[in-house]
Symmetry: C2
Subunit: 125 residues, 2 copies
């Protein structure tokens, strides 16, 4: 599946390559129409899903929000969401071993951390 190079697929990849932040399907559709004006939402979804399956994209899921996607390849990291502008930023570092928090008998496999607050721009006076 998705083994051909189409202009739609190229356009969608270009959108991610040109944008430094995680994007949702609607944003991809809008930006992608600059290159392929008749681009359809179904193609965006199918292509994103296949790019995730192929490992080129990874989903960025924040609590209570529809998924965004970003180009894969970054090291293990988490995200900071600005409460004012709603933008999401990658943060480096990690709280480390969280097995202390794991209840007895439970098997810890991975974790997710999201920080909330104000980004540099919104915190500035």
């Amino acid at each position: 599946m998705m083994e051909r190079n189409t202009k739609q697929r190229d356009a969608i990849r270009h959108v991610f390559e040109k944008t430094a932040r995680p994007l949702g399907p609607a944003e991809v559709l809008e930006a992608g129409r600059a290159e392929v004006s008749k681009l359809g939402i179904a193609t965006v979804y199918r292509t994103i899903n296949s790019l995730v399956e192929s490992g080129w994209l990874v989903p960025v899921e924040l609590p209570g929000e529809p998924p965004r996607y970003e180009i894969a390849g970054a090291a293990h990291h988490h995200h900071f969401r600005c409460r004012d502008c709603a933008r999401v930023f990658e943060i480096h570092g990690c709280p480390g071993d969280l097995s202390d928090l794991t209840p007895a008998g439970f098997m810890l496999e991975s974790h997710e951390v999201v920080l909330y607050g104000k980004c540099a721009r919104c915190a500035a006076p």
Copy 2:
């Protein structure tokens, strides 16, 4: 709104009182039918929403999943989601100060931590 005591409302509160973990609307519906067999999903949604507004319930939102709800009043805590049975459990403890992860200029206000793995039941042989 929701200012009367109905058997549906009571049943829904009972479900949360009897269950120690965060529940989604479908789980509440199923458990609630034990008390009110004709309970409808719309009533579950309406009642949950009003219990959240009144502060009796708080939403538990995990990345990429529809919201669950738990009784308000618990101290700051996080959640563990079982990858096998998809149930969510409250965990005690907290990684603590995460300001090390916060980029310069950013203002950290709060955080969310979710652990993933196998619950005691699903990890058992």
